[in-house]
Symmetry: C2
């Protein structure tokens, strides 16, 4: 490694260790965690503090030793933006390096094939609003959470059936919008971003993550890492065929899980209007007279798709998220019965069905967190360009 | 590492590099491949040659340099035994360290819940026959390929539906048989052993391996490594539900892929007698008047299960093996049509459907190869005990 590469690498290691730590850490603790020498850590920390990426707390005196200075990621010195494009709204969340949520702006609109222009424009305005709210603080970049499959190079939305999008160059168009002023934009599948919020809660765990939102998707976590797959689409449980030649899915195929339990499918099945928001879906379903039938359909359909995924992957833990989380208790008996009827894992012990942390907007929060990546990976480059 | 541990580790590294190499290698080539120094390699090779684990070929003179002595794994100095227990036969294959097949013994019998005693006894006799054929040469141990799920500790067959076995302590019972004379026995799922023969042909590749034999199973290979899963069962595609409430599977569940395309299911569907062997199934099906229907059923059922697995894993290559390999060309159009109708991967490019290397008995060969593991992992221990 060149010495500049090594310095960049070490700056990144120190900064990431502070971001990953749940509590402020001393220079000595960082040295221990990163296996760097104390003098090296001191030098790197000095640079990061000077650049406003790390902040020092009040020195703490313990016993007769030298006072310990607690270090943590800096608050309020930069923002990274997460943007979520869903069927019924677009949101923009600004976070700082400490993970604090600085601002959130949301606009409600129906995002469809016909409204791509509007979606680009509203997104650009939300981003501009977030930057205005952040004042003079620099912006790292934008990560967009989208309910569909992104091309492996990150430039195009190949298909987002619940938005009616096929091969839409959303990232390019948003990046080229005058209001963005050249800010870098990248996109990722919404469920793969949402699962990030579960990784911290379950370090090293292996589980199938299933999230109901605009569509139904998920992620596969093996020993604490999200499985990528060949195109970055692993975990797409929404298009598991649960009934050959069954209901028509928005993706054009037949019998997909999403044709039974997505926002659109549930809304139509329960006879609810287009104005019901995803976040209100469960409450709206509760008012419907066919509640038991709806819950049964969700539970059985999900259970079958989950059993098939568990069998192929040999997993025995499922985490339900999105609109599935608040109804997890209600649908669990049906899901469990279906899973136990079909999953091989029960031969070795029980299958665990859990709910996600239940915090709102996991995709949006995951996107904002992912938007911090460039500064965490290359703090030296950030410092050269912005400090 | 202790110095004895280090020596054991280095002996293993040198021996494995020779076993992995397709051609004999010089001491210098081993040093380069293993990143050990030439003097260290020379010392280790000397010990391995002395113990009969490595053999030297005729020195080759190239140019004016010193003659090069080609090294390869020793032939005929030990045997490792693979045993395959299938619905219609039990086979035992002895291989030496060079991978040469030294002997193969097969007995045809119907293995069922009632014939566990007979299966243990026949297995022990086949093993004894293989050892007798090997003469004075020592035996490393036995790896058993079984068409079912093995308990994670390797001691019990939790379920092998196509043998009618539930919770059978086959490994313990075989190991305790007087004819085995204390030889170590372990067991693994037949498909996970069979896939080993594909790993060499496709270094670093990612693919879904699907094998038709007594049952229908498979393995998931990610960048050249077989995915384990939580119990060592990943890749169990045979119990993907392809029809809710569909045909009764031998596992007791309904609608599993195996209920449509396993040996038993195909034999029964085509009205063939119990005496048809797995290896003759395709020919026997060819004589049936319902060939087109049988091929259609196999193709559509497989295609659906494959599409679901590809979607969740985000893979785009499938390798068909077992009795599926010889009919791969015939079923491919139907499999492909079904996969393309349901797999998301087609949005990024074509799905590749290939056939396995077509050599007979991949599970048996994989088991024999796996039985060599103890001597490859701990050559020093082997030398102390047997030389």
């Amino acid at each position: 490694m060149q010495s500049t590469d090594l310095r960049e690498h070490n700056l990144s290691v120190v900064l990431r260790s502070l971001v990953a730590s749940s509590e402020p850490a001393s220079r000595a603790a960082i040295a221990k965690a990163t296996r760097l020498t104390k003098p090296t850590v001191s030098k790197l920390v000095e640079e990061l503090v000077g650049a406003g990426l790390v902040q020092e707390g009040s020195p703490q005196v313990r016993g007769t030793g030298r006072p310990i200075v607690p270090l943590s990621p800096a608050q309020g010195t930069l923002v990274a933006l997460g943007l979520e494009v869903a069927a019924d709204h677009i949101s923009c969340l600004a976070v700082d390096l400490a993970g604090r949520e600085v601002s959130q702006h949301t606009e409600y609109l129906h995002v469809t094939a016909r409204s791509v222009d509007a979606a680009v424009d509203r997104s650009a305005r939300l981003i501009a609003a977030a930057r205005t709210a952040a004042g003079a603080v620099p912006t790292v970049g934008i990560c967009v959470a989208l309910p569909g499959r992104i091309s492996p190079d990150g430039s195009r939305v190949l298909s987002a059936p619940n938005l009616g999008w096929t091969d839409v160059p959303f990232v390019e168009r948003l990046a080229a919008h005058p209001l963005l002023d050249g800010l870098p934009v990248r996109a990722q599948n919404d469920n793969r971003l949402a699962v990030n919020t579960e990784l911290d809660r379950r370090p090293g765990a292996s589980f199938l993550y299933v999230r109901g939102s605009t569509g139904v998707g998920g992620a596969i976590v093996l020993e604490g890492s999200v499985l990528d797959g060949q195109h970055g689409w692993a975990g797409e449980i929404g298009h598991t065929v649960i009934e050959q030649g069954g209901a028509r899915c928005r993706c054009g195929r037949r019998g997909c899980l999403e044709a039974y339990v997505s926002y659109h499918a549930l809304r139509e099945r329960a006879g609810l209007s287009e104005d019901v928001l995803i976040e209100d879906l469960v409450d709206a379903l509760a008012l419907s007279t066919d509640r038991a039938e709806v819950i049964g359909t969700i539970g059985r359909s999900l259970g079958l798709a989950i059993a098939n995924a568990l069998n192929v992957l040999d997993l025995s833990t499922v985490v339900l998220s999105g609109y599935l989380a608040p109804i997890a208790e209600e649908i669990s008996p049906v899901v469990r019965a279906t899973v136990e009827a079909h999953a091989l894992a029960v031969e070795a012990g029980p299958v665990t069905i859990e709910r996600s942390d239940g915090l709102a907007d996991p995709s949006l929060r995951g996107a904002a967190r992912a938007a911090l990546d460039p500064v965490l990976t290359s703090p030296g480059t950030w410092i050269r360009q912005h400090v």
